[in-house]
Amino acid sequence: MTDIAIVAYHQSKAVSDVGACNEVELIMPVLTEVYRQLGIANAQDVDFVCSGSCDYLQGAAFAFVAGVDALGAVPPIRESHVEMDAAWALYESMLKIRMGHAESALIYGFGKSSPGELPIVLSQQLDPYYLAPLWLDSISLAAMQARILLDAGRISERDMAEVVSRSRRNALANPNAQLAGDISADDVLAEETYVSPLRRADCAPVSDGASAMIICTVEKAREWGVPYALITGIDHRMETHNLGMRDLTDSRSTRLAAEGAGVGAGKVDVAELYAPFSHQELILIRALGLGDETSVNPSGGVLAGNLMMASGLSRIGEVFNRIIAGEAERGIAHATSGPCLQHNLVTVVEKA
């Protein structure tokens, strides 16, 4: 497979409520920044555009249509959209480049989760006949998963608290983080439980924001003359929706995706994992076979700010930033969708 270069990336600050900011106002600043990084004017200067968003977050059908207004799509452009995290928009864009119909692609994801009650909104992802009418919210399902892990002796509450502590401390160096602080595991454990065994700090916050990335062929990256990193592997896998049929203490689909993406072919310096709950980071670290040599979520991860529909793309962008900064040579990024890590995508990014 042809390697694809990442040449530009930007994420907005994750905030709990952007107020009256609309889709275009959410997207424009991150687009402007990635254009600036390449010295291009707008979406006319790339060959393909693909975005990820979810109507239910904004509460309006076709919320993504407004996104087109941010692109300067006159004359008309080649454009597509996935009702998924923008990490999957990246996946679609890579296919477009590999089939020779584009040399470059702009990818963006945006989410405004603040207008609704996110855990309740996500309950409507469940089987509409048997589960959705029960309004099983995403936090309760994750709490059940954490309880299974604790009861099986796979993890302890202190392990979870240490994930939170590391996230908050790492986020101190991330200007886009919503939650950051010098917090110890003991501080976390001193909190009362929220949905037992989860504490509020074990759950990603509700955030508004967007991120954008530009990818292209290696030839095009050289032409633009900017530093770039290479996507050398990408794969994603789905699992059964029936939670009773899944081993919730593991992530089989992450293992399959990691194998497909070639994670094991080299040392992993950095890993950015989309774990909306602390215990899920522990599941993912094991499923990905990560050891002490890997720096996990140096950005603070999504526990420090969770841009629905953009967080998966942002994980890839964060690894890109580490590589460009010379802090890492090879990293992996993970994205997830669905209750209790049902659908997982793994990307390998390497120094060019």
């Binding site: 497979m1 009256a20 609309n22 979810c54 109507d55 239910y56 904004q58 509460g59 309006a60 059908a61 076709f62 919320a63 993504f64 249509v65 407004a66 087109v68 207004d69 692109l71 799509a73 006159v74 004359p75 008309p76 452009i77 080649r78 454009e79 597509s80 959209h81 996935v82 009702e83 998924m84 679609e92 890579m94 296919l95 477009k96 590999r98 089939m99 020779g100 119909h101 207008p115 909104v121 996500l122 409507q124 992802q125 469940l126 509409p128 959705a132 794969d235 994603h236 896998r237 789905m238 699992e239 059964t240 929706h241 089989r252 689909s253 969708s337 669905g338 209750p339 049902q342 659908h343």
Partner: protein, 388 residues
């Protein structure tokens, strides 16, 4: 760099109808998928990835339904992607599925699009007030009616051109046992006397509300050559988008549609679509969109699309040279999210010689077309009996 060759090797549809009481949403999509696998003489294990599409989640009220449909579509352990590009989504989904194979990443994929309108309220979902925009509360018909009026004014088309399309597509649909509306005895008078919904769109000039799903198996060149039934080779693929509104936008004859057609024709080596293509399955949800798209897609000069319609050029029953929507089209069956994929699949059926009573004799090259949003998102493919 050229895209790898890919072809449709299996097609499955459900019978389109107002209410499928007997199946869940999962049952509906599985039925189409199983039909496509049977047509291709394949099983679930032969599928490397699944690409699914539907119109807004708000229709049925299931958020990101691929999560729920993973099991019904045999996706456990496989990649699954969900496309959403408004009304063009069925077409876009087929194109994204094709790109899985054309990029050399996969050998054989399944693609499915669906809508279960009986479990949804499209009129409501299309009319929910947007937080930062003027509330139209118009639905699709109310949105497109003024654009049709403008077409009538510009072209000077006779008032019954739309009526003619409504009759023609229903007569086509009467040849297709899967079509939702079955009106073999429909007349111009009956359409003309049906009540006015959104002036100038009469009830019988509008599409129905249907339950249904459509699926296709798309394979690479090697596998397609070994397929038990004739493949439909994908000869061109194109998508275009433009904003809903901008200064100087031509909503009657959108540039995105013209550009998209030009792109797909270039790939397929088509210089005169009316002459080079044998038939077309085009997204015509309201009768007047046939003459409008005849012009937008280059089958007729601007202002003259209605002449082809009135001359019977697009009619199977009148022996027209370029039949449009031989399956009966969206005017006969409209499971919204699937409607675009049905166009793409019906184009493929024609070049596979598999279209039964609505077969266009000797069809070798066909266009599949879908559009959505405020006539701003376009997806098209050209399929052929030959590799090209």
């Amino acid at each position: 760099m050229m895209a790898n060759l890919a072809a449709v090797v299996g097609i499955g549809q459900t019978k389109y109808t107002t209410k499928r009481h007997d199946v869940s949403i999962a049952g509906l999509v599985r039925e189409a998928a199983v039909n496509a696998l049977e047509d291709a003489q394949l099983s679930w294990d032969d599928i490397d990835a699944v690409i699914i599409g539907k119109a807004p989640d708000m229709f049925e009220g299931v958020v990101m339904p691929e999560i729920y449909l993973a099991d019904a579509l045999g996706c456990n352990g496989k990649p699954m992607l969900r496309v959403h590009t408004a009304g063009s989504v069925g077409g876009s989904t087929a194109l994204v599925a094709a790109s899985h194979v054309q990029s050399g990443s996969f050998r054989r994929v399944l693609t499915v699009a669906y809508e279960k309108q009986s479990e949804s309220n499209a009129m409501w979902a299309l009319s929910t007030p947007q937080p930062f925009s003027t509330h139209l509360n118009a639905g699709a018909g109310g949105y497109f009616a003024p654009i049709i009026r403008e077409y009538m004014r510009r072209s000077g088309a006779p008032y019954d051109a739309g009526i003619k399309v409504a009759v023609k597509d229903r007569l086509h649909g009467a040849r297709n046992p899967l079509a939702h509306l079955q009106k073999p005895d429909i007349t111009m008078k009956e359409v003309e006397e049906s009540f006015m919904l959104w002036d100038p769109i009469r009830f019988l000039e509008a599409c129905p509300s249907s339950d249904g799903a459509c699926a296709m198996v798309i394979a690479d060149e090697g596998l397609a050559e070994q397929a038990p039934r004739p493949p439909a080779w994908i000869r061109g693929v194109a998508m275009r988008s433009e904003p809903t509104m901008y200064a100087g936008r031509d909503e009657v004859n959108p540039q995105a549609g013209r550009d998209c057609a030009g792109d797909v024709y270039r790939q397929a080596g088509i210089s005169d679509p009316r002459r080079d293509l044998d038939c077309a399955e085009v997204y015509v949800p309201f009768s007047w969109y046939e003459p409008m798209w005849l012009e937008n897609l280059g089958f007729a000069p601007e202002g003259e699309g209605w002449k082809l319609t009135m001359d019977g050029a697009t009619s199977l029953d009148e022996g027209g040279d370029i039949p449009w929507n031989p399956s009966g089209g969206v005017l006969c069956s409209n499971p919204i999210g699937a409607s675009g994929m049905i166009r793409f699949a019906e184009a493929a059926r024609q070049v596979r010689g598999d279209a039964g009573d609505h077969q266009v004799e000797g069809a070798r090259l066909a266009l599949g077309h879908a559009y959505g949003g405020g006539a701003q998102f376009f997806a098209m493919w050209v399929v052929g009996a030959d590799k090209g």
